[in-house]
Symmetry: C2
Subunit: 259 residues, 2 copies
Amino acid sequence: MADPIYRRIAEQLREQIESGELVPGAQLPTELELRERFNASRNTIRDAVKSLIALGLVETRPGQGTFVTERIEPFVTTLSADPKTGLGGGEGVTYQDEGRAQQRVATATDPRVEIQLAAGVVPVLLKIPEGAQVVSRHQQRLIDNTPWSLQTSFYPMKFVTAGGATRLLEASSIENGTVKYIEETVHLKQLGYRDWITVRSPDTNETAFFRLPGDGRVGVFEILRTAFDQDLNPMRLTITVFPTDRNQFIVNVGELPGG
Amino acid sequence: MADPIYRRIAEQLREQIESGELVPGAQLPTELELRERFNASRNTIRDAVKSLIALGLVETRPGQGTFVTERIEPFVTTLSADPKTGLGGGEGVTYQDEGRAQQRVATATDPRVEIQLAAGVVPVLLKIPEGAQVVSRHQQRLIDNTPWSLQTSFYPMKFVTAGGATRLLEASSIENGTVKYIEETVHLKQLGYRDWITVRSPDTNETAFFRLPGDGRVGVFEILRTAFDQDLNPMRLTITVFPTDRNQFIVNVGELPGG
DNA sequence: GCAAATTTGTTCGTATGTATT
DNA sequence: CAATACATACGAACAAATTTG
């Protein structure tokens, strides 16, 4: 009697799933059937199923039953730049190209543009005073109609007021990407960037948009990209959030085959 | 009656935690006290607490109580190479240097060395036949005595049999790193690598070693690094597993300040 | 060192609500 | 509307871990 009952039941079900006896998408026996099979109370069965949910092995649908989860085909983003363009993965045009390269349809909403006061990490990474004005451009991105990432870019308001990059304020995407647009207007060329990768629990907005389970079981990548200009000053901060259940990343360094 | 009771209770407790009213490490009221305060049954209170556990906000200790979780000071690993050495983060000597740079003590166990038959992703990424012999070198790594990562490197057995890199079979760490040792013996120079970053649930070994909660709530980064030689052939595959609750990563691309 | 008290963990039973077919 | 299946909620009892006296 080492392990509690619910855990031993969970263990048996887990073996059935991992052995392939229960394939992804297949329905498990109902709680009442499992109650008879394992000779335990319905609450104990439910505890067992809950632990499998926590492991991401099954999901329950009210009124329908319990099903083995089907793995989402992951989308792979390359974080390191093409050495020639200096552009990185998930940036502007590149994003749609990467979607196409994986034979999938990438779309993005028109950006929601706001003028905000820099707070939190924004002034720190952009090296501007706390409370200074910044342009925030926020986009939702989908692949094959599945919500894939939430992206917000912050630019110093100076780019608009002193640099003439007025289209940063327009709520429409900038063709050829903002990197090129800023180079043409403000004359700041992006020569490099630093990505800072963390994983955390999703907030309520993210849980809703990505349709994640409400229990915070699936985390999200949060990638902070600070881009630097030719004088090595920060010129842009982009924060992108990706669910960990459908995203993977590649970093290329040095000389590689198939480049 | 939109939200269930347990969720409204969880919501109130969450606000107390996020507002700072309950600081990290502080003890929550006991289940019996919460039962009176919210006028609900003990099971309903427990459901509320469970949802906070799933969010990583609190932890329970049998016989003691429920406490607000204390955040672990994250360790940051740089994945992109120093352009001069071609060495990447978490590799050999660099690993200890990064530990020191963050004022922390990094240690590693002596490697457990095995000769295995290539299976799974190993032959695919190393571009050797499935079932070919490989040298596997496995290390546990700690920082400030906290388990931090599990690393396994795979080398083609040819390096030993035909290249004379016999010390790859020794169960002791190779000073100056294996990258340099292979360059000196097999005459293969590491000019680049590709990192493939995923997040998944920990297996039972990892859960035990990292002392993670048993419910699979905390995920692990799995980073597959394929290193390439001067002929752009794969020469090494290193798989490293890091818990997401205590690890973050940096990727530097292009020209950056403070280099 | 031991016993009692405290606190969370497990298990059962039961009733009712909500979503889907 | 009825049947089915999971979700929520309450009550109760005992077990296991920890602290306290």
